[in-house]
Symmetry: C2
Subunit: 424 residues, 2 copies
């Protein structure tokens, strides 16, 4: 029976039962974490071989330029290896350091101070700048645009991606809208992949702001979890058909392929955009860590197909974890009206929507029982979920056993919070 349809007595009994089980878990004094999209120890071990890809014994026969200054946009072999991640040609790629977030921040900062391209007005001089934020989305994206003082506008997301009607209308009528955050594949946190129509409509946007930029964070482009992976249409190709290829910056990294703190991050864009990026980048740095680029090239034998094969090993580690999350939700909450979720074909998250007004309470209850979740509201700009219902579940870091305990507690917290909001 759905709690919404229970009598007062039934609801009280339902709550009492959940509370009893919850208190039993609480007594265990657990310390579990489902907060961040961090690879677990088994995943890290998959890349241990990376550490042997450039040794002192290799020094003599390795090009000495690799060890020295220079190479602003990264080594050729790394561009070739990672360009397919973004669906681009190597000449449309710059290889950076260990953090795609840092590239995105620097892109925003560059646009803010110097403009989005040669001769374009810096965003700092454009008065109020507004930004489109598909929600729920990635908190670190929103943190950047908040820091720069942009006014963030929530755009609802469904199984096909963000609401394109709304986006088309807004960008056409408001010149102060300068960009949009997108995680187009296995989105953080919803797990959905933009439909072909969404990508085509994105490519066909006619923004009033000629310096409108799509920040296309393809963080999970090769992070499949099933035999029937999602497919994402190539936005760059679609934009090129419309002569609009300057409208996008693309980002990806090996943070969740090799080592999160010591991977390689890449940016993809049109020649005009890359030339402008390089015009300030050459003042900012002499170049990023080429040794680490070379390590990655060697680890993958220079072949993108080896990168995707490597991702199958990650899948083997992650699939059971996602199964725990989705199975537990289905078993305990399926058909109850206490929540909805999507079983993703890839990525790092399960997005859970509880009843309105329950998310903060669920997170609090979990915390009190030793389970740390991403803060309620974090998936929305300014940390404000208007319905207080969305919670991002990150199942990758804990062991399967820990995760099961954490999810057992999570569903109990959902039941308790739901009962409370229904008046029990």
């Amino acid at each position: 029976m759905r709690p919404q349809e229970m009598t007062k007595q039934e609801l009280a009994a339902f709550k009492a039962e959940a509370l009893k089980q919850y208190e039993d878990y609480k007594a265990l004094g657990l310390s579990l974490n489902m907060a961040r999209g961090k690879p677990g120890a088994e995943q890290l071990a998959l890349s241990a071989g990376l550490l042997d890809c450039l040794t002192a014994a290799d020094f003599a026969e390795t090009d000495k330029n690799i060890f020295n200054y220079g190479g602003l946009d990264g080594i050729k072999e790394a561009k070739e290896l990672f360009a397919p991640m973004l669906g681009l040609s190597p000449e449309n790629v710059i290889v950076f350091g260990n953090s795609s977030l840092n590239i995105m921040y620097d892109c925003i900062s560059r646009c803010y101070t110097f403009g989005a391209g040669k001769g374009l007005t810096p965003w700092k001089d454009c008065g109020k700048v507004k930004w489109l934020c598909p929600v729920p989305g990635y908190d670190r994206h929103f943190a950047i645009t908040e820091l720069f003082g942009f006014e963030m506008i929530n755009v609802p997301v469904d199984e096909n991606g963000p609401d394109m009607d709304m986006i088309e209308r807004l960008v056409a009528e408001d010149e102060s809208i300068k960009g949009i955050w997108c995680v187009p594949m296995y989105a953080n946190p919803t797990g959905i992949t933009y439909s072909d129509e969404t990508v085509r409509r994105m490519a066909a946007l006619k923004p009033a702001a000629k310096d409108f930029r799509i920040f296309w964070d393809n963080a999970y482009c090769i992070h499949h979890l099933t035999d029937t992976p999602d497919k994402l249409l190539n936005l760059y190709d679609e934009l090129a058909k419309n002569g609009s290829e300057d409208m996008v910056y693309m980002f990806a990294s090996t943070s969740k392929v090799t080592f999160p703190g010591s991977g390689v991050a890449v940016m993809g864009a049109s020649k005009a955009n890359l030339d402008f990026v390089k015009s300030t980048m050459t003042i900012q740095t002499i170049g990023h860590d080429k040794l680490n680029m070379l390590r990655h090239v060697r680890f993958f034998g220079g072949k993108f197909e080896n990168v995707t094969a490597h991702m199958q090993k990650h899948r083997a580690v992650l699939e059971p974890r996602f199964k725990v999350v989705v199975d537990t939700l289905e078993r305990e909450l399926g058909g109850t009206g206490m929540g909805s979720w999507h079983s993703p074909n890839g990525g790092y998250f399960v997005s859970f929507n509880g009843m309105n007004g329950t998310a903060k309470r669920i997170v609090q209850l979990c915390k009190e029982a030793g389970v740390t979740l991403t803060g309620a509201g974090a998936t929305f700009p300014y940390g404000k979920d208007p319905d207080d219902k969305n919670i991002r579940i990150a199942p990758t870091f804990p062991s399967v056993e820990e995760l099961q305990k954490a999810m057992d507690i999570f569903v109990l917290a959902v039941k308790l919070a739901s009962a409370e909001v229904l008046g029990a």
Copy 2:
């Protein structure tokens, strides 16, 4: 005889003789480079062992946090290892990625967009911003302040450092002066080290701008070349005596200690400054490459004394190169009035001052004979040497044999350019 005192005929003969030798070298079709402060192959080989400091065999017993996300300000062991480079406590240090230039750029960008500290006006909103530039100085410093549109003011440098009378006067009277570039030890390019008095006066500055910042780029702090190294007074300690420790940002790196493209860079500052840096840095990145920090910690056995011992190996490679430069200058130009220079006790450069109006011509003559030098003017803001006399000689990259040829050509170019400017 000094060319200035020659008769017209003597000068013509002097020029003809130099030209003959110059043409002989030109005919060799050489390709030599004394342009950038790049370590040579022998120096790179000194750090090959770094590549073995973290292998797959070490994976099991290494803290897994090292491989994962996190650690915004760097690993504890790396802070402890490198804090002595800056003469600071580890808690006053943040360890970054591979580029101190990038840290400096980001510091300027942060001050520009968000201010130099909590509650301080962003420099972008301060109207005209002016910046003090000891000259000759480092071209990449000047490029940053030029990009941000600051008005750069030349400050002459002598053997004790920059002209402190001028600096004291300017910063006291002009609130628009927000900072100064300093390479206080074995300065780029002059090779001089700031005297104790200079450091004390720097620490005692009373700038009109309360957000005035000293950018103290201690790039060559351990890069000694003699048994009698220069000593630099600790600016941070002196500032602390005056309660002015927020006035400085300090920078250093292992770019010229281990691998230029794959080293570790550090920033040092007061707690208040670091807290503010971290407040935007936490939006910009999750953290820098901790594996590379750990490699460095292991390579040096966690001890700063091993870093300084390692620098003695660099010295052994570099000392003969600096000797070629200084000996050749002394032998061919000593007492001729055609140039002056300083034999540095460390660092990466010899700064040559020719007769006024000769620097561009010397660089051009060298280029035509196959010797690439740093562009004339590069050591001044906007690339404009008002006297057209300063040339930065970078002796580290070529072999000793190549360097001797390059210097032979250099002194011939000086003689030719001097004769020309004297009317021959």
